[in-house]
């Protein structure tokens, strides 16, 4: 199991640096022109780099130095958060991006791995958000427990859809999830205990007595945005979820899910229980969406039915496809494009769906596998004997 030709670590480090730099540049860009230039340059770099074979070089480099590069990536994330410590709005956007990536990880397991469609991802985030709001205001449960409970409740509520989902396929299954999303929103709007259309207020996060909604002051001069602490926590949660999803992919579990997606019938001839794997993938995905929703509720301090619409579900789905269906890493650039661009380009706010449609079509035309197409499974990167 020696590593015969180990690639150097530099392409990987360069890629991490470029990624962190592009994220910072996009978040901090002031004028419309800067934003457009940074975003286009980033997308172009991914597209051209992929064509020129940089992607393969980076991939080999990452695989050869798996531990170091993943540690460096998370460190780079922490550095980005640190550098933004006094930029309230930018941090809020970064937090939002991280939560979209978290929900996108759930969708990746459902749709990308197992092939189970879900056009109600935002609704499942909503289930998590409302669960967290109710539990935080009416019980004294520690907030970490509340967030986990929101994930579990979301997975349980999602299981209502399991029976119809297992009995249908393709377009019909898609319609069922769309119906659920619409039902959920209508239910919220007519339900007075849950605030109706006006929604609910959500208290700030408290972990081990530390209140996250207070600004972080060191002395009279230095004051960090309170979003710094949120961003730090989200980074840890995202890190755990990402590692978990990657390990699912790089294991017998990921193989079983691929078999369910690609040819469930053939796989059943070898003993695979397609329904059980679909249930597991759907529930795990909804668990992640629920946690993302709970954190979203806490972050924005206020939730309403209008935050979890069918349009938002489509947005999440477009992130997953744009990034490269089945590749968790692709979620980050895709979420940055989809979440940050419209916020920054206020002028096009009303046209943002038009922009996404155009962008998604353009990228998928140039690169059908998405910005970062999924690669063949390596159970233990860099160790293919």
């Amino acid at each position: 199991m020696g590593a015969p030709d180990r690639a150097t670590i530099f392409p990987a480090l360069a890629a991490i640096l470029a990624g962190a730099g592009a994220t910072l540049a996009l978040l901090l860009a002031e004028t419309q022109w800067h934003v457009a230039v940074v975003a286009l340059a980033g997308v172009a770099a991914l597209l051209i780099g992929g064509r020129a074979g940089f992607g393969d070089a980076i991939h080999r480099s990452v695989a050869s130095h798996h531990r170091v590069t993943s540690a460096t990536s998370w460190l780079a994330g922490a550095v980005v958060v640190f550098l933004l410590r006094e930029h309230n709005f930018e941090l809020l956007m970064l937090c939002t991006v991280m939560l979209y990536v978290l929900a996108g990880l759930g969708l990746t397991v459902q749709f990308g791995f197992a092939g189970v469609v879900n056009f109600a991802a935002a609704a499942f985030m909503g289930v998590g958000a409302y669960t967290a709001a109710v539990l935080m205001t009416s019980t004294g449960l520690p907030h970490l427990v509340v967030v986990l409970a929101a994930g579990v409740v979301t997975a349980l509520i999602g299981s209502v859809l399991l029976l119809p989902l297992l009995r249908t396929r393709g377009h019909y299954a898609a319609l069922i999830t769309i119906a659920f999303g619409i039902l959920f929103r209508t239910f919220l709007e007519v339900n007075d205990t849950l605030g109706g259309p006006q929604g609910l207020k959500v208290p700030g996060l408290q972990i081990f007595g530390y209140a996250f909604n207070e600004a972080i002051e060191f002395d009279d001069e230095t004051e960090w945005s309170f979003y710094t602490a949120y961003a730090g926590v989200f980074l840890v949660v995202l890190g755990l979820a990402y590692t978990l999803v990657r390990r699912v992919e790089r294991s017998w579990m990921g193989l079983a899910l691929d078999a369910v997606r690609l040819d469930e019938t053939a796989a059943s001839a070898f003993g695979l229980n397609g329904a059980a794997w679909k249930i597991a993938a759907f529930s795990f995905g909804n668990f992640l969406a629920g946690i993302a929703g709970a954190l979203y509720a806490i972050l924005t301090a206020f939730i309403a039915p209008a935050s979890f619409t069918f349009g938002d579900s489509l947005l999440l789905l477009s992130i997953v496809i744009l990034g490269g269906l089945g590749n968790p890493l692709g979620l980050l650039p895709a979420a940055l494009v989809v979440v940050v661009l419209p916020e920054k380009l206020q002028v096009i706010q009303e046209y943002r769906f038009l922009l996404f449609a155009a962008l998604v079509i353009l990228i998928l035309l140039l690169r059908p596998g998405g910005l970062m197409p999924r690669r063949a499974r390596e159970y233990f990167p860099g160790r293919s004997s």
Binding site: L255, T265, A267, S268, A269
Partner: protein, 260 residues
């Protein structure tokens, strides 16, 4: 004595068509049986019914002394019956290794600890499976073991066929159902595949095989006994020589050659 596989009175209807009409079939451990018959005579349907993909309208399937009639495919697989498909059903975008591991599905540990947390056991299992699968592939081709991590889509037709047969052999089944493995291959390639299969059989003397085949020459070479189907009914059962002498078979299957 009881046979390894005992099919009795098996009937299948597709609408008004009787795809299988009271089929009786038996097979012992280590035996090879050729299943022949014209197109639409019920060969593949009999495989699909034994393996649980198609529900029978009547009759029973017993395997190793137990009734497995109408059990779902995954339960049938659990008992040690593996099959190939006439039109290959490999997961072409996955590697050869991954495809073989689909065949090993029931052997693999899908637990949370091994896959997500500890991972040490997964590493050991992958190393072990890699060795095992290389050995298995080597029976069929000297070059295939080196292509273990390539996607199946990069392989030629004959190599894909070999991988599909290896996927079915991976978990060391007791009964192997081969659905026309020579389809789409040249006579030379077919002869090669059959020779390799016989080598595998020599190494696993208790393995029972049912082979669906159009080409009588292939059947003659590999199987001691054949069953001939026509319109869902068994019209002959015996050695190759007996069956080819049977007038009903000559009429139904060999057609004009019977008159020659």
């Amino acid at each position: 004595m009881t046979h390894l596989l005992e099919v009795s009175g098996l009937s299948v209807r597709f609408g008004g068509v009787r795809a299988l009409d009271g089929l009786d079939l038996h097979l012992d451990e280590g035996e090879t049986l050729g299943l022949i018959g014209p197109n639409g005579s019920g060969k593949t349907t009999s495989f699909n019914t034994i393996t649980g993909f198609v529900l029978p309208a009547g009759g029973t399937v017993r395997f190793a002394g137990e009734d497995i009639t109408a059990q779902p495919p995954r339960h049938v697989a659990r008992r040690g019956i593996a099959r190939t498909f006439q039109r290959l059903r490999l997961l072409t975008e996955l590697s050869v290794f991954d495809n073989l591991m689909v065949g090993q599905h029931l052997t693999l540990d899908h637990g949370i600890w091994a896959n997500l947390l500890g991972r040490g056991r997964l590493r050991g299992a992958i190393a072990r499976q890699t060795d095992e699968m290389r050995t298995l592939l080597r029976h069929f081709s000297p070059t295939l073991p080196d292509r273990l991590h390539e996607p199946v889509s990069a392989l030629t037709m004959i190599d894909r066929r070999r991988v599909e047969v290896c996927r079915a052999l991976a978990r060391s089944p007791r009964l192997l159902l081969l659905d026309e493995p020579s389809a789409g291959m040249t006579p030379d390639e077919t002869a090669e595949l059959m020779r390799d299969l016989q080598n595998v059989k020599a190494a696993r003397p208790s393995l029972a095989v049912i082979l669906i085949e159009h080409d009588m020459a292939v059947i003659e070479r590999v199987s001691a006994r054949c069953v001939v189907l026509d319109y869902g009914r068994k019209i002959a059962d015996g050695s190759y020589a007996e069956v080819t002498r049977d007038p009903a078979v000559r009429r139904a299957y060999l057609g004009e050659e019977a008159d020659a």
